[in-house]
Amino acid sequence: MSAAPSNIVIVGASAAGLTTAAALRRNGYDRDLTLVDAERHVPYDRPPLSKHLLTGEWGVDRVALKTEADLASLAVDIRSGVSATKLDVERSILSLTDATDLPFDRLVIATGVTPRVLPESAHLAGVHTLRTIDDTLALSEELVAGRHLVVVGGGFLGTEVAAAAIGLGLRVTLVNSRPTPLERSLGPAIGAEVAALHTGHGVELRTGPENAVQSLLSSAGRVTGVLFTDGSTLNADVVFVAIGASPTVDWLNGSGLSIGDGVECAPDLSAAPGIYAAGDVARWENPAFDESMRVEHRTNATEQAMHVGARLVDGAPDAFASVPYFWTDQYDLKLQVHGWIPGYDEVRILEGSLVERRMLAVFRRGDRVVGALGVGAAKALRQWRQLIVDRTAWADVVGG
């Protein structure tokens, strides 16, 4: 590996990839920089896709991550509409779908995740997932008032799209394997309030294992409905599938890099000498929680990109420690969560409710406060975030 980098290639031009490029220039790296972008759009931000872009409130230009001028000033060679097919770690060469090879002396893998699909349904007209601008525009075209949308998956993306569709005048049914939406992440108590929020806006809920989707029904290549495991059926004009996403790492098969759930990295986000990963695709041991994790939140992409952009220039092995943050916008509510809550042992609503549009809830794992959720409680949430950063014991700050 060369002493100082002179040819950095970044695979992926979304939040993590683009921010890495910007961070490199900010940190004084002035040699060759290439971004490999599977998409053809100007690099853009994903969270608004399921919100403002889907409803038509924003145009496509509003989701761009950088102005054309700012992008040009980065002096980065963007290879648009091209994906990586193979990585030769020993020879430091990246192969692309346009049959060209890119040599590099440093590589950043920021290829993100790919939405999961229902088996045997991906080709059906009227069935949608959402990851890209093109996905969003295709779905938006079908969200016509009066139609019946069935959303499969009551996680953050599914609930956001359900809310957007209600706003557009559709009839919406939300299908979820657990009894309440967002229950897998936030627990049954908050889930019950989220359920009430949605049913209050007219969403029909079909939840529980008996309402698992067995298959989609179709006619002449277009979806017509859903068949549930209990044998019942439900007609649908449009089906939106939001059942999670998998890290985009198949192209790394045979590269020798460790790719279980994502690119497996050391605490400094390196996957091999001179090779880093950042964003949704990166799994690493987070010193802030002493846990291995892969964070699919927007702010993590930027934070990891900043870190990688610094490590590439200083060559130091500093670990990346972070307390994640994410938010979801549904109807007139913004739910905000700081911390790492998967596998929590206890969640307690300290004050308020979704109905009141003000709520504060905290999460425990072991004896530690590991997460805090707020609605309309930003000031309190900032204080709880600091408590999480400080590894505060639950017993010290939460009574009973």
């Binding site: 961070a23 931000d45 509003r62 930027t302 938010w327 905000q336 409680a377 930003a378 000031k379 900032r382």
Partner: protein, 64 residues
């Protein structure tokens, strides 16, 4: 320098307020950005550049 904050694009992550607390704050309810000083002094340049780079929704712009 001039700092511009697009409150509609802001997602209330609070990263800017953490990096450059003399220039950015957050409101008490939703936590959206409050621009304390639209024309900060040069001593804030580094912090503001970092804040602009770190904003997770690209809501901040710096005109130098």
């Amino acid at each position: 320098m001039k700092v511009i904050a697009d409150i509609e694009v802001c997602v209330a992550a609070g990263v800017c307020a953490a990096i450059a607390p003399d220039v950015f704050d957050q409101d008490d309810e939703v936590g959206k950005v409050i621009l304390l000083d639209a024309n900060p002094g040069d001593d804030q340049l580094d912090a503001v550049r970092d804040a602009v780079l770190s904003c997770p929704s690209a809501a901040l712009r710096l005109v130098e």
